[in-house]
């Protein structure tokens, strides 16, 4: 690859030695386990179309939150993670064992590039966002310092698009190229479970051809109805046969949702409500029924036909399978005739 940063990457190697000699901080951890994987040459086509090449398969990886979760699920442990919020609360990371991984950032826009350099990474992994034309954490508006992360090592990622499955598959391909044993029964089990979950989901929707669903997010002031066009996981559900309704009048300046005032909360009458998973708790439906007099004007809400929808860019087969299984149960228990 034409590499304008080669100079920098070499200097980063120098930084790593420097760190060891001068202060001894950072790179004390054992050298990356250079098992059979660490051969080469290596190449990967990133989400923006660039083909990234290296002489040796990268083994010291710094990854963004959900992307790190994806790599970990294939048995590849990054040396560093940067996230947009504390890793304890990040929905993609909160259940993972992160011991031995250096946390380089827990706030959007702020990445500790010095600490990152001390890890001597040879690959950075972050989703590619086609609309922003940037990798996760390096978008416009972040600290100028943070952007220098990209100077430490080549950066690759899977493009965010119209399907969450693309993300899982993309990171499977990346992990494979990095030497992950994706056929290892333990690792492959997740994918199997996911495939079974999809089959079950399709069967459930096929059994209820008239079932309609809507992605919703009620708040104290308004009700938000999700526009599937901008929610890859809802597009996946549609592909698999669930009729996720398209709001008639998405907000003009922000078409991700149609916002309804509480007076008009009953505008859509789906049979099943998919509740934004970022805010979902089992008790919320009853709570909203109590505090918002019109929430139960939605018949599905009144009947308790409510389930969580993962509106936060799942990256792994395992997580997606778990969510799909819950959804399938909800679909199986739903009544096609509650709404209209």
């Amino acid at each position: 690859m034409e590499n304008p940063h080669m100079q920098t990457w070499r200097s980063v190697l120098a930084v790593a030695t420097l760190g060891a000699v001068l202060a001894g901080c950072g790179s004390n951890d054992a050298p990356a386990d250079e098992t059979a994987a660490a051969s080469g040459p290596w190449s990967f086509t990133s989400g923006n179309g660039d083909v990234v090449k290296a002489d040796k398969t990268p083994s010291r990886i710094i990854a963004h939150a959900g992307e790190a979760a994806a790599l970990i699920s294939f048995g590849i442990k990054p040396v560093g993670i940067y996230a947009d919020e504390p890793v304890k609360t990040d929905l993609n990371l909160k259940d993972l064992d992160l011991t031995g991984i250096t946390i380089l950032g827990e706030e959007w826009g702020k990445i500790d590039v010095e600490k990152a350099a001390s890890l001597a990474p040879d690959l950075i992994v972050g989703d590619w966002w086609p609309a922003e034309k940037a990798y996760s954490g390096l978008e416009e508006g972040v600290d100028e310092k943070s952007k220098k992360l990209a100077e430490l090592a080549p950066i690759v990622g899977v493009s965010q698009g119209e399907s969450i499955v693309d993300l899982a598959e993309g990171y499977e391909a990346l992990a494979t190229s990095l030497g992950a044993k994706v056929d290892d029964p333990q690792i492959a089990a997740n994918k199997k479970r996911f495939e079974t979950a999809v089959t079950a989901f399709k069967a459930a929707t096929a059994a209820k051809p008239n079932l309609t669903a809507a992605g919703m997010s009620p708040t104290d002031e308004k009700v938000y109805v999700a526009n599937p066009k901008y929610a890859p996981e809802l597009l996946d559900f549609q592909r698999w046969g669930l009729k996720v309704l398209d709001p008639a009048a998405p907000d003009k300046d922000f078409p991700y949702w149609e916002t309804l005032s509480w007076e008009n909360a009953d505008k859509y009458q789906p049979d099943l409500i998919l509740w934004d998973g970022r805010a979902y708790k089992d008790t919320l439906n009853a709570e909203f029924g109590k505090k918002q007099p019109t929430w139960f004007e939605i018949k599905a809400a009144k009947a308790g036909a409510v389930t969580a929808w993962p509106a936060y860019w799942l990256h792994t087969y395992g997580d997606f399978a778990t969510e799909l299984e819950k959804l399938t149960t909800a679909i199986n228990g739903a009544d096609e005739n509650i709404g209209n």
Binding site: E106, E107, E221, S261, K267, T294
Partner: protein
Amino acid sequence: MRTSATNRASGLVLLVALLAVVAFLSVTQGSRSIDLTDVLRALGNLGDDGTITSTVTLELRVPRTLVGILAGAALGVAGAILQGVTRNPLADAGIMGINSGAAACVVFAITVLGIQGVSYYVWFAFGGAIIATFLVYTIASMGREGATPVKLALAGAAVTAGLTSVTSAIVMTNIDALNELRFWQVGSLAGRYTPILVGVAPFILLGLVASLGLGRVLNGLALGEDTARGLGQRVGLTRAAAFGVVAILAGAATAACGPIVFIGLVVPHLARFICGPDYRWILPYSMLLAPIVLLLADVLGRIAGAPGELQVGVVLAVLCAPVFVGIVRYARLVEA
């Protein structure tokens, strides 16, 4: 021209009538179009018969209108008192750090205690507002001169600056809190129903009644502290009492609706324009004018934003911005 007491009193009666009309508008108009007959039937039955029209009318619009009336009155009166006591025509609750105090406490509730929902924010916002007012007043009272207008304004600005940077530092690491905060801090009447109404009504009513006794004192203070002292007023004491009333009124209103700025600033000037500089009249006029303006803005927002709604804070910002510039330009800022 002399405006006689009778004229002013009949003006008040007129305003009461106007408020009734606007309140009726607020109950009949909304983002959902409901036939007038249905609204009247729901009002007549005075019980929710289970239809959506009656639910929207009785459980959404009526409490919301009442919250609007109370919060509006509270903000208008609080603004009038503040302008009188600080002799600063640009004073309102926001300048006293009340909004930033309330916001900081709400963010604390969201991030540290994990609480979400407007009905829970009420008490945190109330507490935060009271603490911030107390802080600002204490800081400004330090030193020999006591709480002079400039010191009050600066103490307010400084407390606001400090609290705001803490608040924004917290929400930057918690995107859900940022999302909650940015909607809360615009100020809105949407989603404010009976529980909130019942919660804040006693405080606001108490504050409003207490405020009516302040008219004469404020008239004295308006002549300057020395004159007021000469008239036998205990300036420090009255000032503290006035701030107590402001903290309760603005705190409760902010707790109910989030920080609604501008109305407390603009309405007292409107009142002064109509009834002259006598605070015994400015206070009741502000008490009636402010809810009229607030409800009108809210109705406008409900109609203009259908099927969603515009927050009342946004509508007020658009309406009040030119008025604000006018006030700044022509207001008599006391030259000390």
